[in-house]
């Protein structure tokens, strides 16, 4: 046998229970590659995908159809010269289909006595394309402009889709992180009978639950800079308001969702039930709370309900601070909504929580 010479290991320091519990939560989290991906990787991938899909590439060219015929070639030349239209020759047999499928916004039919425009007036881009095409063809035919005009393109900072999207993704991430992270961990612990086992020790229930909040807040300290840093360097998304205010709103949001997570996990005996409950809570908010598109697209009579959802309030507050530079004191409604969810879900969850 070979003797191994090693320095005696220093005595392990035992921390306060709430801190040991928090450390345990963080260790379990970082040792789970899947959880790491969903927390850090997924929001970044989503930002990349959506940022590319909706990037601003200057004015989009509108595709217009030109019906084949004697004057078609000249018409195509004039329309191409505008720089804003992409004309395409269409055979008469395909004309109806090209229009109904939306392949072309307008079908231009040059004739000996004038030009006919075929289009569906209910399509928003059709009317614009018809005006553009008509304007170009009239000028080419010799119509003078009565008054000189100039086009001034403007772009307000923070007005791109990606600027609008990033705060919503941040809100979504706070919701998913809290709900999945906490609810799943609690139900797993209950299912393993580990919750019962810990209850057989002098551990305070309060410490057990607090550890989830502390570990979530610590995770935020990484999640928020990663997503916002990525958005800044890749897409130039800037935080126009106070960073402190943004962090405070993030923390409040994460805490509210932690309360909802406790509620979802308070009685579920297995992870299937917990999954169902978490989906039930998160999926509607993904859709209506303005993550990917504005919540204002929903009819007016549901707006009061949408506005009191925690994710709506969080997204509104984050967008106000990040995109518009609004001061946190001008967001009392959103802060109040989040605080109500936080307090309400806690009180109910603690009442109905099943420890064994």
């Amino acid at each position: 046998m070979t003797a191994e010479i090693s320095a005696p290991r220093p005595k392990r320091k035992i921390h306060a229970p709430v801190w040991e519990l928090t450390l345990a939560r963080i260790r379990e989290f970082v040792r789970e590659p899947g959880a790491l991906f969903w927390t850090f990787g997924f929001p970044i991938l989503l930002t990349i995908a959506l940022g590319i899909a909706f990037r601003n590439q200057g004015p989009q060219k509108v595709v217009v159809g030109v019906l084949e015929g004697p004057a078609a070639a000249e018409t195509v030349r004039v329309l191409t010269a505008t720089g804003r239209l992409a004309p395409e020759l269409i055979a008469p047999a395909n004309a109806d289909r090209a229009l109904s499928s939306g392949k072309v916004a307008v079908l231009v039919v040059p004739g000996p006595n004038g030009i006919a425009y075929r289009f569906d007036p209910s399509r928003p881009e059709a009317a614009g394309a018809r005006l553009l095409a008509d304007d170009a063809l009239q000028r080419a035919a010799g119509r003078p402009d009565a008054r000189p005009t100039t086009d001034e393109a403007t772009r307000a900072p923070g007005a791109r889709y990606v600027d609008w999207l990033v705060p919503g993704l941040l809100g979504m991430q706070l919701m998913s992180g809290s709900l999945w992270g906490i609810a799943y961990a609690i139900v797993q612990t209950r299912q393993r009978k580990l919750l019962k086992r810990m209850l057989a020790t002098p551990m305070h229930k309060r410490d057990y639950l607090l550890a989830f909040f502390f570990s979530r807040l610590l995770a935020l300290a990484v999640e928020v800079p990663v997503l916002m840093g990525f958005a800044y360097f890749a897409f130039g998304v800037e935080i126009r308001g106070s960073i402190v205010a943004m962090v405070a709103v993030c923390a409040l949001g994460a805490t509210s969702f932690a309360g909802l997570a406790l509620l979802c996990a308070s009685r579920a005996q297995n992870s299937e039930t917990a999954n169902g409950l978490v989906n039930l809570v998160t999926l509607p908010m993904f859709v209506v709370s303005g993550v990917f598109f504005s919540a204002q697209r929903f009819p007016a009579f549901v707006q009061p309900f949408i506005r009191i959802l925690p994710l709506t309030a969080l997204n509104e507050a984050l967008r106000a601070i990040i995109n518009e530079g609004t001061s946190i004191v001008h967001l009392p409604f959103q802060l109040a909504v989040l605080a109500c969810w936080m307090v309400g879900s806690f009180v109910v969850a603690l009442r109905i929580f099943r420890w064994s």
Partner: protein, 306 residues
């Protein structure tokens, strides 16, 4: 001296089902006490009531002279618990798990020393998911011991373990008891109870049906030995009862089991009877009587049958 555990007329009902049905028990300080019985006998329910994890439907429960209702915090500091089938967190190391449990107690054992006495020092940095069944069970017991309890509850601690791991755990329990501490153990292994327990209570259908030292219970059969025999054609049990030195007799699945004082007296009589009746002996064994025989003679069932 106050008893470590005192239970009077304990009942626990879940709706229609009565899990514990008027159980009385007293466990002395320094004793290793075994609750013995088949699955579903009410052992685990009794344990969890004693551990303060579930309230009884009725009855008196005193642990270390205190009641759970008035002294929960104090009792939690003074008892250690290993539940049946707890699965500790997979992705924490052995040492992290112990440190977590240690943090819950005001006073407790030194981790290095505890790891060494549990033979887990080589595994201190291994994740729980990487441990063998025996190592996991030792860690579970270590978590129960980390607060230096006066009273230790072990609910089926060796179920599913290999013989070597079982023996290692037994040594730990013996060591704990040798320091004057009290153990309440549930098991359906008879050899475990005979080896570890000062006294055992046999529990069936939520009631104590026998109580005493393992020796006393075995002696209550009337004979310390068991002769098992089968014949073709089968001999009537009534023919065997009057044989010399046979204290009691029963039949199960075609095999007769005789509780016998002196095998050297009983065996020739059995052989003579077989010869006289012209039956063939297809099986004949003698062995020491065990607690299993006690359970079978009390209930007519084997422990594992449930």
């Amino acid at each position: 001296m106050t008893a470590a555990i005192r239970i009077e007329k304990l009942c626990k009902r879940y709706g229609e089902l009565t899990a514990v049905d008027g159980l009385d028990l007293e466990v002395q300080v320094g004793e290793c006490f075994g609750l013995l019985g088949p699955n579903g006998a009410g052992k685990t329910t009794t344990c969890e009531i004693l551990e303060g994890l579930m309230p009884p439907t009725s009855g008196v429960v005193e642990v270390l002279g205190k009641s759970w209702r008035t002294s929960e915090r104090e009792l939690r500091e003074r008892i250690g618990v290993a539940l049946q089938e707890t699965r500790l967190a997979d992705k924490l190391t052995v040492e992290e798990t112990l440190a977590l449990f240690r943090s819950f107690y005001r006073q407790g054992r030194d981790l290095d020393e505890l790891l060494a006495s549990m033979q887990l020092q080589d595994k201190r940095d291994a994740w729980v998911s990487k441990l063998s069944g025996g190592q996991r069970q030792r860690l579970a017991v270590a978590c129960a011991l980390v607060g230096e309890p006066e009273l230790l509850f072990l609910d089926e601690p060796t179920t599913g373990l290999d013989p070597q791991s079982r023996r290692a755990l037994w040594d730990l329990i013996v060591e704990f008891k040798s320091r004057g501490r009290t153990v309440l153990l549930t098991t359906h292994y008879m050899d475990e109870a005979e080896r570890l327990c000062d006294r055992v209570a046999v529990v069936d259908h939520g009631k104590v049906i026998a109580l005493g030292t393992p020796r006393q219970l075995i002696d209550s059969l009337g004979g310390a030995h068991v002769v098992e025999l089968a014949t073709a054609p089968e001999l009537p049990l009534e023919a065997l009862r009057p044989l010399p030195s046979v204290k009691s007799a029963r039949t199960q699945a075609g095999t007769h089991a005789l509780a016998v004082d002196e095998p050297h007296v009983a065996l020739p009589a059995v052989l003579d009877l077989a010869r006289a009746r012209k039956v063939e002996l297809t099986q004949l064994t003698t062995r020491n009587a065990t607690l299993e025989d006690v359970f079978v003679s009390l209930t007519g069932r084997h422990l594992r049958d449930g």
